[in-house]
């Protein structure tokens, strides 16, 4: 029994270390290198959002800030969404979908809205104080005054 526990612990440490090596890249300068920027409403509570908060929002753990309901927006399936999920959440699209399916049926959580265009994402954030979305980095110069890019 003790031998089994010892072998299990040893094996777990080896596998854990090997898995951690795959995540050696530091979390910095997120977004720009991956081709997206994160945008928020200039009048909302998310101007000071950092990487941890953005992660919590997109995992459904953070729902309110200063009484304002946070409303995250995902892009439709594609390279931009994959890049965002990988950079911010260290998840593939499949893992993210599975995570949310479980969350919906465990807690009756609300799925983040999915939008197909940069125009739609910017419009949503502009019209919602708690809105947060990600768009291609080359679109950042076209935002207007109501929507700003936050640095993570």
């Amino acid at each position: 029994m003790k031998r089994i526990i010892a072998i299990t612990i040893l094996l777990s440490i080896v596998v854990f270390y090997a898995n951690e090596r795959a995540f050696a890249e530091p979390f910095d300068a997120k977004g720009a290198a991956s081709g997206f920027v994160v945008i928020v409403n200039i009048h909302g509570p998310l101007l000071d959002a950092d990487l941890t908060m953005v992660k919590s929002i997109y995992l459904g753990d953070k729902k309110f800030i200063d009484g304002v309901k946070v409303k995250p927006v995902n892009f439709s399936e594609g390279a931009l969404k994959e890049g965002f999920l990988e950079s911010i959440l260290s998840m593939t699209s499949k893992e993210y979908k599975l995570y949310w399916v479980k969350k919906v049926f465990q807690e009756s959580a609300k799925l983040p809205r999915s939008i197909a265009t940069t125009y739609g994402a910017v419009k949503f954030v502009k019209e919602n104080e708690g809105g947060i979305a990600y768009i291609p980095s080359y679109s950042a110069k076209l935002l207007g005054r109501e929507v700003v890019v936050i640095r993570l």
Partner: protein, 401 residues
């Protein structure tokens, strides 16, 4: 004559210049007409879509949200000879219907019902039903019937077997009606919330509800020489004034994404009749507490939980450790689980599933589809104290739609 030639040259030059400039003037071509038409049609389409969205929002409060998130979960199984099923056999698992809904930012609902096909009958069980109100991230209040906050697995996984890698839950976490030894469900109130600090996220669950009761197990002869019982949640009436309290606190540190650590505990009162003194009702105060660890990052998942059972006369331990590693469509896994009891434990000795037992499980899950269907094949070594050892081969096709 020479003068006329010069004038003719000038006039000719002017005519030529007029023709040249005229040719360069911007005129509306057929192509430009086409682009304008397209822009106008697109703008009209956007207006229509915005109007439709606005109508949808107007109807939101009136329309039923039931069915918006509706899903059926089921599984079909094949087992070789096992303690639970003699002979090699196909088996229909329970069909679970889950639905969740929300109105506005704060009101939420959940419903889970299962249909169970027995050998000669079918039963329908209401497994979860609750209504919830979210005040803020720190506080959500729910009322209804839900899974008790005893550890990680019981809160994370419900009746849909598609969601977990193995064929079954750890045996000591089975539902009450199939020889579970813990109150898996509770009817009452739940407070829950999460707090984000720089160091990580702290989550809590606090439940107050009816404790479980005991019913005679009609299949007691499969597990014991004397009558044994199964735990039954009190849905309609608590059989005593004492209430069950359950709490769990979990921490997800920022320094190690993917890691979760939890501690939990519960206390409840069971009233039972001593077999040796049939008319005497005995009050048994039972506690269950423990700790859990989860680590999920990339391809690797580690789950481990420890439970300690304690009453006035005896203590017992149950624990499991599960490891899985995703390789694309395939996920190999292994689990060890054990229940370590004492013969004189007044709580566990009453229960059909309360016998000392250990299992080794090893298998592989194959995802036919990313979200809807998977096949699991596993080997299970089942050693029950005082009983036969079974080496079981199990295949399960789990699905949802």
């Amino acid at each position: 004559m020479r003068g006329y030639s010069f004038v003719a040259w000038i006039i000719g030059l002017w005519v030529f210049l007029i023709i040249l400039v005229g040719a360069g003037l911007p005129v509306k071509s057929a192509e430009a007409d086409s682009i304008e038409d397209r822009v106008e049609r697109l703008e009209e389409k956007i207006r229509e879509l915005e109007a439709a969205e606005s109508n949808e929002e107007d109807l939101y409060d009136i329309k039923s949200q039931f069915g918006k998130n509706l899903r059926l979960f089921g599984d079909i199984n094949y087992y070789t000879d096992s303690r639970e099923r003699r002979n090699r056999t196909f088996s229909v698992g329970s069909l679970g219907m889950h639905s969740t809904a929300s109105y506005g930012d704060r009101l939420s609902f959940a419903f889970e019902m299962i249909v169970v096909a027995h050998d000669h009958s079918t039963s329908v069980n209401l497994e979860r039903i609750w209504v919830g109100y979210t005040v803020n991230d720190l506080l959500t209040l729910r009322a209804g019937r839900f899974h008790s906050a005893l550890g990680y697995w019981n809160k994370a996984y419900h009746h849909g077997k598609y969601f977990f890698d193995t064929v079954e839950r750890p045996f000591f976490l089975k539902f009450e009606d199939i020889n579970g030894i813990m109150p898996i469900h509770i009817v009452g109130l739940e407070l829950s919330g999460a707090f984000d600090s720089g160091a990580g996220t702290l989550k809590y669950w606090l439940q107050l509800g009816n404790g479980p009761t005991l019913h005679k197990d009609v299949h007691w002869w499969m597990y014991s020489n004397t009558q044994t019982y199964v735990l039954v949640p009190n849905n309609q009436t608590d059989d005593n004034d004492s209430k069950q309290v359950t709490a769990r606190v979990a921490y997800e540190p920022s320094f190690l994404p993917g890691l979760g650590l939890g501690v939990f505990g519960t206390n409840f009162l069971i009233e039972y009749t001593d077999r040796s003194v049939p008319v005497e009702v005995i009050d048994l105060h039972q506690s269950i507490y423990g700790a859990d660890l989860q680590y999920k990052r990339g391809a690797l998942e580690i789950l481990s939980e420890y439970f300690r059972f304690k009453n006035g006369e005896a203590t017992a331990n149950a624990y499991y450790g599960q490891l899985s590693y995703n390789l694309g469509k395939f996920t190999p896994y292994a689990r060890y689980e054990e229940l370590d009891t004492k013969a004189n434990d007044p709580y566990l000795s009453l229960l059909s599933g309360g016998n000392e037992r250990l299992q080794y499980i090893g298998g592989v899950r194959f995802d036919i589809d990313d979200l809807h269907s998977s096949v699991k094949a596993q080997y299970r070594y089942d050693d029950w104290k005082g009983g036969n050892i079974y080496e079981v081969f199990e295949i399960q096709w789990a699905f949802n739609f």
